[in-house]
């Protein structure tokens, strides 16, 4: 019964979405007030029904209803309750339902927080989101019904893929989807602005918080995915340039460009067409990512069940949404003025340069991701290649290095017009200090690559240049330093934090890439291996049983200067239902570095192959991402968003051409 309720709720949500995607939009074009007013109640209704559908599916999982195909394929009666909840979005169907839930959640949020928007604008925004929702609800109902029944019911389920049985996997998809789908708000604002023929600073001000929010979620989502891979895949890597990872990284790069470009459009009225194109691209890449992951056109470690019929559906959907949006852009963009003027040396041009570099980087990731497919298609299925980390690293570092360098210059430069000698005076000490330290550290550490020097320089450069920008910022305020700092708006602090996050991130990536050590050794009971000043002693394995798996649980004692400091328990698990073997690494996390031990294969009764890693500063990679996301959240909490007076809104509306 419950699954049928969920199914019905989805159908009702679809009907509401169809109305939402049409009537308010027509109303806005023709000036029919009543039709425009429909958009908010329709969004609320859609959210309600999608939420009911989602809860019905979650209930089916929690109650072990194996008469539902989705539950029978992705859960098991032995699976712990929290993973049964997570299994709701562990399957293809469930994750698409999660996607729709996120979309309706964003719609509801727009409908609540954007009441001060002009009626036409709100109606158009919600209507565009409604259209996107129609596509995804149809996709669910036609090709990926999460409530499909299984007759006769299965006695027990096939269990959730053991790779997904990890706390990281419980939160990774919702975060990532919040980010992906969040860009639909920026997209809807862009389309609404193009439709209404009004592309101005007001539009940028409305889109900004939504874009920043989506960007924060996406940052956190990618971070958790990376952390999950590090914990769960058992070989200590944190980024693999896998097509599915790239699919989330491309919208992030474009989203980062969009966040900055929106700032310029709001403050200076410049880059209008560019910003609107970025907003379209960010969401288009989110959709493309979904297509790549869900259609199976690319191979990937994520290896989800794939189906060409679904692929075709998403492809048609992509053609309609992205194609339509880009066509609209092509028609309307010529009518939009270029906006504020600026000199070659100015904050605008630094931000523009950064934007271009980010887009080129996203383009090169797209190229690397799709190149195997393109080559395959051109050769009629005869040429199969794969593009791996060497390509991405070779392309990415040269593109990102100047971008990161400009990150230090941009916040110090003046809007509209700056001069190079003035910038040099401000930044020369920051430049000299970072350069000297970046040269001295490898000397002291006994050598290092050019990559190490470059990475250290860039991290220190951001740190030093950011400090300069803080000093410059508070120079013209009065009072004690602390008071002057406290006076600054949170949006500005958010930028500072996010930029420092990039510095922390680069430091982590550089140091772990240079100084990590790895040993793959055969260890009998009592054998030791030394690494990074620690001695690892293998004390054998014992049998252990978990709720739905059996495991060989190893004991590795870590000694420092002959004293026992730590005991690690890596596991080799075999899951009961699927028979899949999983390596569960034991990781001791520290600010200065991680000790990472995972069990390889048993060689005989008491001997195992054991992998031991020392990963200095690896945590900084994720700490940097957390700082970036936190910077975004801080910017969101700025009082201008909380106290956005409706009066100022009305003024803004009155001054801009309708």
């Amino acid at each position: 019964m419950i699954p049928e309720v969920g199914q019905l709720a989805l159908i009702l949500a679809l009907l509401l979405a169809v109305v939402q995607g049409t009537l308010p939009l027509i109303g806005a074009q023709r000036g029919i007030g009543a039709w425009m007013e429909l958009s908010r109640p329709l969004a609320a209704g859609q959210f309600l029904f999608v939420a009911i559908a989602f809860l019905c599916l979650a209930w089916s999982f929690l109650a072990n209803d194996f008469s539902v195909l989705n539950v029978a394929s992705n859960s098991n009666s032995q699976l712990p309750a929290h993973y049964r909840v997570a299994a709701t979005w562990g399957s293809h169907e469930g994750s698409m339902l999660l996607w729709v839930l996120m979309l309706s959640l964003w719609m509801q949020a727009v409908s609540i927080f954007s009441q001060s928007l002009p009626r036409e604008m709100l109606a158009r925004v919600l209507s565009v989101m409604g259209m996107v929702s129609v596509g995804f609800l149809l996709f669910l109902l036609l090709t990926s019904n999460p409530f499909e029944r299984l007759a006769p019911p299965a006695a027990d389920g096939n269990d959730l893929n053991p790779l997904l049985q990890d706390p990281g996997m419980v939160v990774h998809p919702p975060m990532l989807y919040m980010g992906y789908v969040g860009f639909s708000v920026a997209f809807a604002f862009a389309i609404a602005a193009l439709l209404g023929g009004r592309l101005d600073a007001t539009w940028a001000r409305w889109s900004r918080p939504w874009t920043t929010a989506a960007w924060c979620f996406l940052t956190l989502g990618i971070l958790i995915g990376s952390w999950w891979a590090y914990n769960e895949l058992g070989w200590g890597g944190w980024w693999f340039w896998d097509p599915v990872e790239n699919a989330s990284f491309m919208p992030w790069l474009v989203g980062t460009a969009l966040v900055h470009s929106l700032a310029v459009t709001e403050k200076r009225g410049a880059f209008k067409r560019w910003t609107v194109l970025l907003a379209i691209c960010a969401f288009s890449l989110s959709l493309l990512g979904t297509f790549l992951v869900r259609s199976g056109v690319l191979t990937s470690v994520h290896a989800f069940a794939t189906d060409p019929e679904r692929g075709l559906f998403i492809l048609v959907f992509l053609a309609v949404v992205i194609g339509g949006a880009l066509m609209l852009f092509a028609l309307r963009a010529p009518q939009v003025g270029g906006g504020g003027r600026f000199e070659t040396v100015s904050r605008e041009s630094f931000l523009l340069a950064n934007n271009v570099l980010l887009i080129v980087a996203a383009g090169s990731v797209l190229l690397g991701t799709l190149y195997p497919l393109v080559l395959d298609a051109l050769s009629g299925g005869q040429t199969k290649i794969s593009v791996g980390p060497p390509y991405f690293e070779a392309v990415f570092v040269p593109l990102m290095s100047p971008m990161v360098f400009l990150m230090g210059v941009g916040p110090v430069a003046r809007w509209k017009q700056a001069t190079l000698p003035e910038l040099w005076t401000l930044l020369r000490w920051a430049f000299a200090v970072s350069l000297v330290v970046a040269v001295l550290v490898p000397l002291a550490a006994g050598g290092g690559s050019w990559g190490l020097r470059l990475g250290l320089f860039l991290a220190l450069w951001i740190l030093a240049a950011t400090m300069v920008s803080v000093r410059e910022r508070i120079r013209n305020f009065r009072g004690a330093v602390r008071e002057r700092l406290a006076m600054q708006p949170r949006a500005w602090w958010g930028m500072i934090l996010a930029h420092l996050g990039v510095a922390v991130f680069i430091a982590g990536v550089t140091v772990v890439g240079t100084y990590e050590t790895e040993r793959d050794v055969r260890m009998a009971i009592g054998d030791t291996v030394e690494m990074g000043g620690h001695v690892f002693r293998f004390d054998g394995t014992t049998e252990a049983t978990g709720p739905n798996y059996r495991a060989a649980r190893g004991t590795v004692t870590v000694l420092r200067d002959g004293r026992e400091v730590l005991t690690l328990h890596p596991e080799k698990r075999t899951y009961n239902a699927s028979g899949m073997a999983m390596t569960e690494a034991a990781i001791s996390t520290g600010v200065l570095g991680d000790l990472y031990v995972s069990l390889g294969e048993p060689i005989d009764a008491s001997t195992w192959s054991v992998r031991v890693y020392h990963k200095p500063l690896v945590t900084w990679i994720w700490a940097g991402c957390v700082l970036m996301a936190f910077g975004g959240l801080l910017a969101l909490s700025d009082r201008r968003y909380r106290l956005r007076s409706s009066q100022r809104q009305r003024e803004a509306v009155a001054t801009s051409p309708a």
């Binding site: 297509f291 259609s295 056109v297 191979t299 492809l315 194609g323 880009l326 010529p334 799709l370 393109v374």
Partner: protein, 175 residues
């Protein structure tokens, strides 16, 4: 010409490739070796290095060539299946021990069981190149005339064995 049409144009090209890509299976890697005679080689045997092996000696028999190495993780996954196969089938499996140390290889077989009629040592991987090996394990099915009829990339699975390899062997044995 409206320059703002450019993004739309790029998107159309991308769409075209995605459409074609949808019909291709990225997992299916064609081997140019199918239907070709097995590459000639002479290599020392793993257990008796003084003796050489060459595929010519297998003429008139259907046989399998399995590329393996003691350092290869997936080889461990398929190994029990090969052992079981060797126990229940008269078809010989020849092991091509790829880029491995003979001592390690012998120890590995001693521990996990030896399904191979014999293994040969391809220490520098030269013969592997002739076979187009790019991932270990790989398994070739070779007919009585010495023609390669099938190539299994990656570990042999129970499904692949039951649905593809065994029926093919039965067919080839009759021919």
């Amino acid at each position: 010409m409206n320059r703002f049409l450019l993004p739309f144009g790029i998107f159309l090209v991308l769409l075209g490739f995605l459409f074609v890509g949808l019909k291709l299976n990225p997992r299916e890697v064609p081997s140019p070796l199918i239907g070709k005679p097995v590459p000639e080689f002479t290599l020392p045997q793993l257990h008796e290095p003084a003796q050489a092996f060459s595929p010519q000696s297998m003429r008139g028999r259907v046989w399998l060539l399995n590329v393996w190495a003691s350092w290869c993780v997936s080889c461990r996954d398929e190994h029990p299946l090969l052992v079981e196969f060797a126990r229940s089938n008269p078809v010989a499996i020849i092991g091509l021990n790829y880029k491995d140390k003979p001592d390690d290889a012998r120890a590995w077989l001693a521990q996990l069981g030896n399904p191979y009629a014999l293994s040969v040592s391809d220490r520098d991987g030269r013969v592997g190149i002739d076979f187009g090996v790019y991932g270990v394990p790989e398994t070739f099915v070779i007919d009585k005339q010495g023609i390669i009829r099938h190539k299994q990339i990656g570990a042999v699975t129970a499904d692949a064995l039951r649905e593809k390899i065994l029926p093919l062997i039965r067919e080839l044995e009759q021919g």
